[in-house]
Every structure is written in structure tokens, then in C-alpha cells.
Symmetry: C2
Subunit: 197 residues, 2 copies
């Protein structure tokens, strides 16, 4: 019913998460009304994105040899935030006051899904800690069985080095009413409670 | 914070209707995980979509000289569905039992927005009615001031030809509870009431 290239575009858009046939049709027709230069920019960004590789140091995405954080001499190489995926880095960079570096895992340990400790880029983390005399590793992973398992494992493999291994507490997000928080979170937050200063 | 091409891709995705920064970021990162061939297909469909033109007969989108409906000899050229945009054609083709042809307007008459009768491809409709001895024109436009105005105008300019000009009744969609229907629709549906056969 559609010209071939329109059908292909709809199918490509459907590959995106959360986008079904109806939305894909709507988006494709909106692209049909774009100026030709805009479509070129869109197509080019897709072509260029194929050149994105991983930073050999921290595993962040980059189009250079090293990512812009690892290539920055002013960043403190002795403090490492460990995150699950490259996108998480952007969240912390938006905080604006973190001057350390990152280490991106390749997922979380999950025996059920066959993801073992040796699969998630932990060797490189140990290597970095050893070689750079790292002072602190802050592990920030999704609070979940897999996240907890991975945190515990990281704590264990870094135990023999002189490095602080910390994590972000489980708690209640700013502005969220307590009634919307599940009891597991409340239980964990209770355990992590702090004296009011 | 992002490599340039990732930033460009996010910006392109943000040009799509209903997609903001957060969603664009999420989609861009999902594309980063696509296989390279999938990205190529996506980029190619965008490049090819620039070749989409309008059918000189009915104004539908096409990648050929004439659209596939107008080039089909088996379609009844004496029955014309008038619709607002190319996408509407797909809805009627999905019904599966319509064997006539279409005429796509370039929008609806709207004096407020400066869209006048001569702007919306009506000359070609009159020409088609005249040249093909058309028997019926079914105008299917959004029930709105602009839709009504355009329907009335089409009725007027086709009045001197021997052609039936009809429209789809305003009514209640299948499976919709009456309490969700606005009173204007109910009023119009009441006017369009039919005897129970």
C-alpha cells in the first residue's frame, strides 16, 4: 500500500523501542514533510553513528581514540564511578560537580541470563585500580538482584587493593510521596538511615 | 557530552512529532545497539524517501510516475474518495472492499489560516470529474469547521456536473460509550439519523 521506501522507513522506525506500526506510520509521514536538508542530516547521523566505538579505557562511547572524559587531563583519574551503560554517564555529567572518571560495565552479573563476572568488563576495572592507584570506586547500579550481586562482586575483587568501594544509598527520590514507594525500597532505605546532622 | 554524530542523531529524532530530548536520547542509544546492516537500511530508507513525489492524477505519494492505484486498470475511475492527506488512503485501502480511486487535497479551506479554495488542489478534482464522467465523489474529511466548509465548497463546484457528491455521516465510533461523545457530535448524528431497517 505504501511505496517501498516508505514501507522500509516505517519498518526501520518500528525497530525503535516502544514504537509500533501506527506511531511508525505517523513518524514516517512527518519525515515526508521534512525539508530535504533535514532528511540528509538525519541519514548522515545514522551513517556516522556506525563509527562510534568504545573507549579502550572506560568503555564509554566515543568517536575518537579515547573518550572526551578519559582524554581530559584535568579529570581526577583516581576516582571512578562504575555504571551499567554509557547513557548513565550523561546523567552524572549533568550534575556538573563530578570531576572523576567512569567505568562502564557490559551489563550486570545475572547467572539466570548466563551473564557471568568475566563477561562484564571487570578485568579492566581491576587493572585501572591497580595501575592508577585509585582512591575510590563508587558503584552506581540499578537497585535489583543483579545490581546488588554485581556491587558485592566488585567489592570482593577490589578488597585487596587500598581503595574505598562505595555505593549510592537506596532511598526516596526528591519530591516523591512515600505512598508511591514500594516496601522493599523503604526497608532498604531504613537500613541505610543516617543521623540528622 | 555526546560524540557529535550521537548529538546530531538525537537532534534529528527530536524533530519527530511527540519526541522530546529524553525519548530521543533513549532511541539514539537503542540505535547504537542495532546491527550495522539495520542502520544502513534505516539510513537508506531516509535517502530514498527524498524521491517520493506526488501522483499527478490524485496527489497520493508515489515513487513511480503515477501512484499504484491510478496505474491500476482494474480500479473504477468513476468513483472518487476525496481525502485530506495521503495517509488517509491507507485507512480506506485497509477496508479492502473499495475499488474506486482517490483525490488527495492539499489541506482544508481555512480563511483564518489563509488557505483558500484555490490552494487545495480542487481544480484537478473538477478536471477529473469532467474528463472521466465520474459518477460519485465521496468527500471524507475531518468533521470540523474547515472540513464542513471544504465539503460544502466541493458540493458547490461539482453541482453543475452530473455527479453524486456524498459524505460519511457523523456518528459514534464502534464500541465507544455514548458518555464519551461530545454533544455537538450527538446533535449532528441525530440529524443524520436513519430508519432502522
Amino acid at each position: 500500500m505504501y511505496p517501498n521506501c516508505v514501507r522500509n522507513l516505517i519498518d526501520s522506525l518500528k525497530d525503535l523501542p516502544g514504537i509500533g506500526e501506527k506511531t511508525a506510520e505517523r513518524l514516517a509521514f512527518s519525515i515526508l514533510n521534512f525539508e530535504k536538508e533535514k532528511i540528509d542530516t538525519f541519514a548522515n547521523s545514522l551513517v556516522e553513528i556506525k563509527n562510534i566505538k568504545r573507549c579502550p579505557v572506560c568503555n564509554n562511547i566515543t568517536d575518537m581514540d579515547k573518550c572526551y572524559i578519559c582524554s581530559n587531563d584535568k579529570r581526577d583519574k583516581q576516582t571512578i564511578f562504575v555504571v551499567e551503560k554509557p547513557k548513565d554517564i550523561v546523567l552524572f555529567e549533568k550534575m556538573g560537580n563530578y570531576n572523576g572518571v567512569y567505568h562502564v560495565l557490559d551489563g550486570l552479573i545475572s547467572p539466570l541470563e548466563g551473564i557471568n563476572p568475566e563477561d562484564i568488563n571487570l578485568d579492566n576495572l581491576v587493572k585501572r585500580v591497580k595501575e592508577n592507584d585509585v582512591k575510590e570506586v563508587i558503584v552506581v547500579l540499578k537497585p535489583s538482584i543483579e545490581g546488588e550481586t554485581t556491587m558485592q562482586y566488585i567489592k570482593k575483587i577490589l578488597d585487596k587493593y587500598n581503595v574505598r568501594v562505595s555505593k549510592i544509598p537506596i532511598g526516596i527520590p526528591m519530591g516523591t510521596d512515600i505512598e508511591y514507594i514500594d516496601s522493599m525500597t523503604l526497608e532498604m532505605a531504613f537500613e541505610d538511615r543516617k543521623d540528622i546532622a
